[in-house]
């Protein structure tokens, strides 16, 4: 690791101010990705601005949906998760588990206990690893990414492998989304890293809008699968998925599996997300 200057920020605003003064500063959240990268000398930020004291960025809030009478489906609560909320906090939040169990289950299966107790949703979303779990969830749940300066729709935010709409000095403060009426996540873990080799998040909003987002398998990060969305919009069933031809075009081939294998996994994981 190269030398770096360490700062603590109590709020996102403080962090932004500190970041503006540095040469090549970086936000430090859980450090689960950034610190190993620095140790391998693949990153060498001049300054680290630690957000672990920024309590306002931590925690889950759930706002109940106004009952409109006609809407019978479950879901619709607005869920806001602070950027510094750890995966373990998301997984362990009992209120969240009641209104959106799929996100609790997803968080509970990220990495190992050490990673879950340090790693944060903000860090994961900022990093946008092409095999990370949250990006698929946020894409399928039509989430909003809140930063210190604006709100960005998930679809505009995720822009390919490790690429996002974030400006260099922009800080994520929270993510928010509506609890879906129906939702599920099927993850096939990479045998070595246990990140997603194919992760498929299926969600049907209270308005009936179906989205299917795929992580781990695409050769350019998280993406929506039009074929699966169309099939599940028409018929929310595994039989509908069986009828979809999942193409290997645009999928990743690597030492863990070919594009054809990943195409198969997408279909299998989509079905497992449903049941």
């Amino acid at each position: 690791m190269y030398e770096t200057n360490f700062h603590k920020a109590a709020t996102a605003q403080d962090a932004a101010a500190l970041l503006a003064k540095t040469d090549d500063g970086k936000i430090l959240a859980g450090g689960q990705t950034l610190i190993p990268t620095m140790k391998q000398r693949l990153a060498a930020p001049s300054d680290l601005i630690d957000l672990s004291q920024a309590v306002a960025l931590r925690g889950v809030t759930i706002t109940k949906r106004k009952k409109m009478g006609i809407m019978k489906a479950d879901g619709g609560e607005t869920i806001t998760i602070g950027a510094m909320t750890t995966h373990a906090e998301v997984a362990g939040n009992t209120e969240l588990a009641k209104v959106c169990p799929v996100i609790s289950g997803l968080a509970a299966n990220i990495g190992d206990p050490a990673v879950r107790h340090r790693g944060t949703i903000g860090g994961s979303v900022a990093n946008n690893d092409p095999a990370a779990d949250y990006p698929a969830a946020l894409m399928a749940l039509r989430a909003t990414i809140h930063t210190d300066s604006r709100e960005i729709k998930a679809e505009d935010y995720f822009q390919g492998m490790f690429a996002t709409a974030l400006a260099d000095d922009e800080i994520i403060t929270a993510v928010s989304f509506q609890a879906p009426a129906l939702g599920g996540y099927g993850k096939f873990p990479n045998p070595a890293s246990r990140y997603a080799m194919a992760g498929v998040f299926v969600a049907k909003s209270v308005e009936g809008d179906v989205r299917v987002a795929v992580t781990g398998a695409g050769d350019n990060g998280v993406y929506r699968h039009a074929g699966l969305e169309a099939a599940l919009s028409a018929d929310w069933s595994t039989a509908a998925i069986d009828a979809v031809e999942v193409s290997a075009d645009g999928l990743m081939s690597d030492l863990h599996g070919t594009a054809a294998y990943r195409a198969n996994l997408i279909k299998v994981m989509a079905k497992r997300a449903l049941v």
């Binding site: 096939f188 045998p191 070595a192 890293s193 990140y195 030492l255 863990h256 599996g257 070919t258 294998y261």
Partner: protein, 431 residues
């Protein structure tokens, strides 16, 4: 001659060094032959068991002992092979493909007679040496060239000394790994620390025992043949005359009253050069379940029945088998070093190199049916590498049995198993 420059990393011997490869080829061929001839793979193996010893093979090795049939029967019983059909049917009901695979390994270890390895071109002799030092207060230090880096020599070596002189193990100290103190060793590998390193200790103990008896006979005014060592004392059998163990040690060092012409002190050195290799053997039976949708394979049962000769510490031996099988399952299903066409290593970190982890492994069922090795004083064969040698073909034989495609290389990753399954299902569809 063509020399090739490479920037890929050097490779070196790994647990079992050469025997896993040989065993893999033999046991895959046996399984394939049985399948092609339509005979039970265990019966084909049993028909070919060597039953009389010594058995000279065409390639230097002379098998000295073994009971392959008993190990196979014991493994089959523990694995409930008879109930496999029912388990397979039950698994199919859950959408899983269940398979069973054998491996009847034999390996050569306890290496090795210096003359034999010399004839094979080795530049060294493969003896071991030991010094047994009885201190004036009766404690014993064993200086051994067999280095211990987790195999538990401190326990096992101390046990044989404690048993020989009937002393508590805490009075015995095993000294190793420091060439300022000990005679150099020829190495801890080839499962040779027991069969070779301990044999040297036994030989040195023989000399110590002889001297102890001489001193005691002299002091107690008895015949050497009447001296027995038991209960922390050196006694004249059938009488109440005795010296405590440490009194003999002290007598040797004060040298006030020892036989005429005897050198003072009580420490002896011995070299042991094996007369033959040793030949651990066993039968491993692996049972797997394959998820045909993803190729994910779970080892649901793993039975090992080994012949390691004399077993001194069963817990340590079992630990060696567990570790060896874990390594073998790693090799069969998980671990893979991969380079791209430009020689860039793609599996350079644990994010891509799959080490076996606890949740990749089953509970092992470990058994023994031992025959005594005639080649060394303790009758030991060695157990350090057997697990890693015997397990890979058992795993692959089980997976290929489950998927009905014999064309599968290690590592049988989910992607590889799924791809092999596609090949048979498309062939079936075409027929």
């Amino acid at each position: 001659m063509q020399a090739v420059y490479t920037n890929t990393v050097p490779v070196d011997a790994y647990r079992g060094a050469g025997r896993p490869e040989a065993c893999y080829v033999i046991e895959r061929i046996m399984e394939t032959a049985a399948r092609e001839m339509g005979v039970d793979p265990s019966e084909l193996r049993a028909k070919n068991f060597v039953t009389s010893f010594p058995h000279q093979t065409p390639v230097i090795m002379a098998y000295d002992s073994g009971d392959f049939a008993t190990n196979q029967k014991q493994a089959q019983k523990a694995a409930d092979v008879a109930g496999f059909g029912a388990r397979k049917a039950e698994a199919l009901g859950r959408g899983k493909l269940r398979g069973l695979g054998y491996s009847n390994y034999i390996e050569a270890c306890g290496i090795a007679p210096s003359a034999a390895v010399g004839s094979l071109g080795a530049g060294v002799g493969l003896w071991e040496s030991a010094e047994v030092r009885v201190n004036p207060v009766g404690t014993i230090e064993i200086l051994t060239g067999s280095h211990s880096h987790g195999q538990g020599h401190e326990t096992t070596f101390a046990q044989i000394v404690a048993e020989r002189f009937d002393l508590p193990t805490e009075n015995i100290k095993i000294v190793h790994g420091d060439t300022d103190k000990v005679q150099f060793g020829m190495g801890t590998y080839g499962s040779r620390s027991g069969a070779v390193g301990m044999s040297a200790i036994v030989k040195a103990m023989d000399k110590v025992e002889a001297k102890v008896k001489k001193i005691a006979a002299h002091v107690l005014e008895a015949g050497e043949d009447d001296i027995v060592i038991e209960g922390g004392a050196v006694k004249v059998a059938g009488t109440d005359k005795q010296m405590l163990w440490h009194e003999v040690g002290l007598a040797a060092y004060t040298a006030h009253n020892i036989p005429d012409g005897m050198e003072p002190g009580l420490k002896e050195t011995a070299f042991y050069d094996p007369t033959n290799f040793t030949f651990p053997a066993g039968c491993y039976i692996c049972e797997v379940e394959v998820d045909p949708d993803t190729g994910v394979t779970e080892v649901v049962q793993f039975v090992a029945s080994d012949d390691f000769g004399t077993i001194i510490n069963p817990m340590i031996v079992e630990g060696q088998v567990h570790g060896g099988i874990a390594q073998g399952i790693g090799q069969a299903m998980l671990e893979n070093v991969v380079y791209d066409d430009a020689g860039q290593q793609l599996s350079a970190s644990y994010m891509d190199y799959t080490m076996p982890r606890a949740d990749d492994l089953p509970n092992y069922s470990v058994h023994h049916a031992s025959t005594t090795c005639p080649g060394n004083p303790l009758g030991m064969k060695g157990c350090g590498e057997a697990g890693a040698i015997g397990s890979p073909p058992a795993v692959i034989n089980a997976i290929t049995d489950a998927i009905g495609n014999n064309n599968l290389s290690m590592p049988a990753t989910p992607a590889a198993v799924w791809t092999a399954l596609q090949a048979v299902s498309s062939k079936l569809a075409a027929e």
